[in-house]
């Protein structure tokens, strides 16, 4: 199911951030900003980058 839903799940991501950005992301989310569903903290670089 995770594979099947990959497209829509990625479409629903709000932002991809790094560890340093987490405190600011908390403040942003608590302020109700952001039109997506999920902020992802990404630590592994995508293949090929």
């Amino acid at each position: 199911m995770l594979h099947d839903l990959s497209g829509p799940l990625i479409s629903l991501i709000d932002r991809e951030i790094g560890l340093d950005d987490i405190p600011a992301a908390y403040e942003r989310l608590l302020a109700g900003q952001g039109d997506g569903l999920k902020t992802i903290v990404r630590l592994r670089q995508p293949a090929g980058t």
């Binding site: 199911m1 995770l2 594979h3 839903l5 990959s6 829509p8 799940l9 990625i10 479409s11 629903l12 991501i13 991809e16 560890l19 340093d20 987490i22 405190p23 992301a25 908390y26 989310l29 608590l30 109700g32 952001g34 039109d35 997506g36 569903l37 999920k38 902020t39 992802i40 903290v41 990404r42 630590l43 592994r44």
Partner: protein, 299 residues
């Protein structure tokens, strides 16, 4: 290594700390690949309600790659990609023995009772790790946990026909709408004060946006009673609005974390046979919440 640690309410710091050493027996060390920020992370940051140790590396929606295993670990191996079960269950109480680990008598959560995924590396009990397909996008893998929470909420609803309403288009509500859009043969309705977010969920899921008032619901349901809903806002005001638009005999799965108390006339529940069902975390829906179309064919 770098980690985002909660020191107390409102006190989250990104710090350089010592990386975890070799894992103890039964534990596993991971390189964290991705982690999601959850509404409950924000709730704990704001209120400190679930702080049981400090500082604690936050983050319970995580996926990673195994880099070391402790003695006796046979379920995962170095190089495996895994997702974490966020529920830190005891495995010994009556609820755990009955496979209701989400209702464990001493339930805690990763990121609170032990360090979580907002770090370059973390260590977790092997019993909380599930191997995933190595080709799965890490952003998708990081959403396995909230997807399981959403699926559990959807599965709490009784079989019904007609329409299902999801109130709140945050992570869990939006994912519930997504799951319903794939498995429910009737209409999926969504409501959220954040119109842009609601429209984004509608665009991805095909759900119909509605206002939480009787007229709008009547139009959307063609005057049929609304018999099922997922409440994913955690807002008492939104729940009160929802109760006002439900049909008699309806059931609501409550999955939002509430701020404040509900003041209702219980006779309204009695006389209209309204069911309010709590939905906490997930049961057996992680890591690959597969087969929900066969588990709940009418949804």
């Amino acid at each position: 290594m770098k980690a985002a640690r909660l020191h107390g309410p409102g006190d989250l710091r990104v710090e350089d700390i010592a990386a975890p050493g070799a894992p103890e027996a039964g534990w596993v060390k991971l390189n964290v690949d991705a982690a999601g920020i959850c509404g409950s992370d924000l709730h704990n940051f704001r209120t400190g309600q679930w702080i049981s140790r400090a500082p604690s590396t936050a983050g319970h929606e995580l996926t990673g790659t195994v880099v070391a295993v402790g003695e006796g670990v046979g379920t995962v191996a170095v190089g495996d990609r895994v997702v974490a079960d966020s529920r830190f269950w005891c495995g010994e109480c009556a609820q755990c023995r009955a496979a209701r680990r989400h209702l464990c008598a001493s339930l805690g959560f990763v990121g609170e009772v032990c360090d979580g995924g907002f770090a370059e590396e973390t260590v977790l009990p092997a019993r909380l790790l599930h191997v995933i397909d190595a080709a799965l996008d890490e952003r998708v893998a990081a959403m396995a946990e909230p997807l399981a929470v959403a699926l559990h909420a959807v599965r709490r609803l009784p079989k019904t026909a007609g329409s299902v309403l999801v109130v709140g288009c945050g992570t869990i509500g939006g994912l519930a709408a997504l799951l319903l859009s794939r498995t429910f043969s009737g209409s999926v309705l969504i409501a959220d004060r954040n119109k842009a977010r609601c429209e984004r969920v509608a665009q991805v899921t095909g759900a119909t946006i509605v206002d939480l008032d009787r007229e709008a619901i009547a139009v959307a349901t063609a005057d049929a009673p609304l018999l099922a809903a997922v409440e994913a806002t955690g807002s008492v005001a939104a729940l009160n609005q929802l109760l006002g638009v439900l049909g008699s005999g309806a059931t609501v799965a409550l999955v939002g974390i509430f701020h404040g108390r509900l003041d209702i006339d219980p006779n309204m529940l009695v006389e209209r046979e309204i069911g309010l069902l709590g939905s906490h975390a997930f049961a057996d829906e992680l890591p690959t919440p597969s087969g929900c179309s066969t588990i709940c064919p009418d949804r």
